[in-house]
């Protein structure tokens, strides 16, 4: 077996191990949580017998270790169990909101990274000017503001007062889309998408912007940039092809990792903008003690994070020919 495939295999094995440990931790966190999971679903009309039926239905009457083994066995088969609350397979429930989370995430990342990267280049270019100082301060502001606060302000301004954008949800009332594609390209959906994406992007763009800026400054000190200048290349070309291209490498991997983080759903934004996404689902599930669902949503975002971390590594070594791989990092 070659060195390369050995590396990839060991990384994959490590990912599986990581996920298994996370799954185990999760399982026990939820089982040890005070409160009977089904208590929230009990009605005054329930008899003891009915409560027992309910427990049996979700396998909660079995000993803990057996529940754990069943859970693992199911997990291996990609089965996440049934949601207590929705009485439906967790996978199905999650599928119901996952596309929306993805759209919100991708859209906000596109905005954030476009603005961030360009802004970072601009700030680095205009270094030591008032423009840079103001730019940095403004960026730090955006990165320091609590998201729900920004969200509420955005909502009040653009929706309630200016009436430019709808104030919640993911699509116009009563509209049915024939396909995800049609939905994605419909104006109404994009209009709904805009405010939450904007709010998320306002926060997200700080990282690529600052990262880009300082990478740019680093790269601009590298001698190949100096040499490019000696070669009489135009300033634009130097900035974009030399400085920005090279400075963007870490930003790209930061983005991969960031996507991993964001798939956990941006709970707060989804709450403020009534966005039907994974984050809100997860919070609802946690506060409704819907273990199965919470676990499922959690595992899924953990899996995405682990995978995106891996992707980031691979991406980095793909983008930067200098990186070697081997033991450790």
């Amino acid at each position: 077996m070659g060195n390369r495939s050995k590396f990839i295999w060991s990384r994959l094995a490590q990912m599986v191990l990581t996920l298994w440990i996370i799954a185990t931790i999760l399982f026990f966190i939820f089982r040890l949580m005070p409160g009977n999971p089904l208590v929230a679903y009990i009605d005054p009309t329930f008899t003891k017998e009915q409560q027992d039926i309910l427990m049996a239905q979700f396998g909660l009457d079995k000993p803990l270790w057996m529940q754990y083994l069943i859970y693992l066995a199911n997990l291996v088969q990609g089965e996440l169990g049934d949601s207590f609350k929705f009485r439906a397979p967790v996978m199905e429930v999650i599928w119901g909101v996952l596309p929306n989370t993805l759209y919100l995430m991708l859209f906000s990342f596109v905005i954030a990274y476009l603005v961030g990267i360009l802004g970072g280049v601009l700030l680095a270019w205009k270094r030591k000017t008032r423009f840079e100082t103001i730019g940095i301060i403004a960026t730090l502001f955006t990165r320091s503001a609590p998201q729900m606060w920004v969200g509420m302000i955005v909502l009040v301004i653009f929706s309630f007062h200016l009436n430019w954008f709808p104030s919640g949800g993911a699509s116009a009332t009563g509209v049915v889309y024939a396909s995800e594609w049609e939905k994605l390209t419909s104006l109404s959906f994009l209009k709904h998408l805009f405010l939450p994406s904007l709010t998320a992007a306002i926060y997200l763009m700080g990282l690529p912007l600052l990262l880009m800026r300082s990478n740019m400054l680093d790269v601009m000190g590298e001698s190949y940039v100096e040499v490019a200048r000696m070669r009489g290349l135009s300033e634009q070309r130097i900035m974009l092809k030399y400085a920005a291209r090279n400075a963007a490498l870490p930003v790209v991997t930061a983005m991969a990792v960031g996507i991993g983080y964001a798939l956990g759903g941006n709970v707060v934004i989804e709450m403020v903008f009534s966005w039907p996404g994974l984050g809100r689902l997860l919070v609802n599930a946690v506060s409704a003690s819907d273990y199965a669902l919470a676990q499922g949503a959690f595992i899924l975002s953990a899996a995405v994070m682990v995978i995106m971390n891996f992707v980031a590594d691979i991406l980095y070594s793909f983008l930067d020919p200098r990186v070697t791989f081997g033991k450790g990092r």
């Binding site: 009605d43 009485r87 909502l155 919640g168 949800g169 699509s171 009332t173 009563g174 009534s274 039907p276």
Partner: protein
């Protein structure tokens, strides 16, 4: 300024009993949901703790999520002192049986809903009696008596019946066509059926603040699910706006005896898939819960001995024993489901661990006034009018949008994104201001059928003492609660029955009142004393057994 929680200097005796130390009442714990999720409950807890402090009782509020709170209350029945709790409005609760029997009968004290451990043999008898008393006047007397007992025993520390606040857009709907229902407000099926659009907008768009979990005629899940299911599936009877059941899918309901009921179905009813509704379907709907595949509905049909089909439109229900709430709790509760769809499903489920509660139809089929059109998970449910129904709605579509952000829902009713504000957990005063400022909006408030209260654990001293409970009840200023916490959008409560239901509500109950002074008097009479620091002590001979 004066503070709410500062203890007043009490006129307690200067001399202190010798055994004061051992008679000191421990710090009592009040469980509440956190302020963030249930601000009203938390603030009421604050007010109660304040009142207790004035009586010389130390109280401590422990905020915890609802699940933890109910876990303690429900499964650790002798480990808590007091807890905030509430009973929500539901159509079948318009019949007093559920509240009167399930909440206080001693048989439910062990693992049923009588988690406070109320035990009064006299009350048990009345509760049982009212169940089987079909005669309304006679039953009313019993319910009145039951309320009296609960009030004088102070089974619960009643707080308020909140006012339901609904807003609709009167540019969209004819105000005369909006129907107010006792204890339920204007957000009810009669409004949905009756509301007459007067402009371009033919759809009713209302909000919910939590998810629709399932659209399943056999699964009693979240409140919002039931808003939808009752529109898709018909029932034999429906609770009318006065709170009493009236025949619906049944043309007539005739009590042949106390245990024999004849049902005549309406002719020409059709399922949404075009098949006719038959007596077989009705029989199936009532028998399916007994198969074990529909556990939640079992309590409502267990009473039925047998169902006979007399002719294609006539059925006879034979009950095991009389049950006064049968019309409300069973005939108006069970959804009529098509046998040709659910029959095979239930058969199939018998061999599987799951039951009918976890079965989701792709397109739910009922016979109700609205047809299922679309459900976008965590977003909206769209129903369209069933024009072939015997009582066709006037609106074209009924759309419920999920908007967890209260602030946003307020903005949306203002800017027309929704035209019916069906839930508003926020500040009523603000809502009123907004409505008054808007040319389009009308607000209708109705006293809730449900109520807010604090439960006291009768198993634990000092709550096992009626006098103590009465003193607490007297000390808590319920008017103040309604004013401060609800900004006037609540009515002080003294019973499980809402003043919104004059038929059942006993207007003169011996529930203690009179403030702190009165409370002290009650305590003194019962032998309670205060130490030099003004702390309340058990009556002589009683000791604190539960420790600090």
């Amino acid at each position: 300024s004066e503070t709410q929680t500062q203890p007043k200097s009490t006129d307690t005796p200067k001399t202190e009993p010798a055994d004061a130390k051992s008679r000191e009442i421990r710090t009592l714990q009040i469980l509440s949901r956190p302020q963030a999720s249930a601000p009203d409950e938390y603030e009421r807890a604050n007010l109660i703790a304040g009142a207790m402090k004035e009586l010389g009782i130390n109280a401590e509020i422990k905020a915890m999520p609802y699940e933890q709170q109910s876990d303690i209350v429900w499964y650790k029945r002798d480990e808590w002192d007091m807890t905030g709790w509430q009973m929500a409005a539901r159509p079948e609760r318009l019949d007093p049986d559920e509240f009167v029997y399930n909440l206080f009968h001693s048989s439910t004290a062990k693992d049923g809903y009588n988690f406070i451990g109320y035990n009064n043999p006299e009350y048990d008898k009345i509760a049982e009696q009212q169940r089987i008393t079909v005669d309304r006047e006679e039953r009313k007397n019993l319910i009145f008596k039951a309320q009296e007992l609960i009030a004088s025993d102070v089974a619960y520390l009643f707080n308020v019946h909140p006012k339901l606040k609904y807003v609709y857009n009167h540019q969209v709907f004819d105000p005369n066509s909006v129907v107010e229902m006792a204890g339920m407000g204007i957000r009810n099926i009669w409004t949905y059926l009756n509301a007459a659009p007067i402009g371009q907008q033919k759809n009713m768009i209302l909000n919910s603040n939590d998810s629709v979990q399932a659209l399943n005629p056999f699964y009693i899940s979240g409140a919002f699910d039931s808003w939808v299911t009752e529109l898709i599936w018909d029932r034999l009877m429906r609770i009318d706006k006065d709170g009493l059941p009236k025949p619906w899918a049944a043309e007539s309901v005739t009590w042949k005896t106390d245990t024999l009921i004849e049902i005549k179905l309406r002719a020409n009813m059709k399922w949404h898939d075009g098949k006719p509704v038959t007596a077989e379907d009705v029989k199936f709907s009532y028998e399916a819960p007994l198969t074990g595949e529909v556990p939640m509905y079992k309590p409502f049909v267990e009473i039925i001995d047998k169902i006979d089909i007399k002719d294609p439109l006539t059925l006879e229900f034979t009950l095991k024993r009389p049950w006064a709430a049968f019309e409300t709790a069973s005939l108006s509760k069970l959804n009529l489901v098509p046998k040709h769809i659910w029959g095979p499903i239930i058969e199939d489920l018998k061999n599987k661990p799951e039951n009918a509660e976890s079965y989701q139809e792709k397109t739910p089929i009922g016979s109700g006034p609205f047809k299922y059109e679309n459900w976008k998970f965590k977003e909206e449910v769209v129903l369209s009018a069933n024009t072939e129904h015997f009582s066709p709605p006037k609106i074209e579509k009924w759309i419920m949008r999920e908007i967890p952000n209260t602030e946003a829902s307020l903005g949306m009713i203002e800017n027309g994104e929704i035209n019916f504000l069906a839930v508003f957990p926020g500040d009523g005063q603000l809502l009123q201001q907004k409505v008054e400022a808007s040319p389009n909006l009308t607000m209708v408030t109705t006293t809730d059928l449900g109520f807010q209260f604090f439960a006291m654990n009768h198993r634990r001293p000092p709550f096992n003492d009626v006098a103590f409970r009465r003193a607490l009840a007297a000390a808590v200023d319920r008017d103040m609660m309604a004013q401060v916490v609800y900004k006037g959008f609540a009515e002080p409560g003294d019973s499980v029955i809402s003043p919104a239901l004059p038929i059942w509500k006993n207007p003169s109950l011996p529930y203690p009142s009179g403030g702190v002074e009165e409370a002290k008097k009650i305590l003194q009479e019962a032998g309670y004393e205060w130490d030099a620091a003004g702390k309340l002590l058990y009556p002589a001979g009683k000791k604190e057994e539960l420790g600090k």
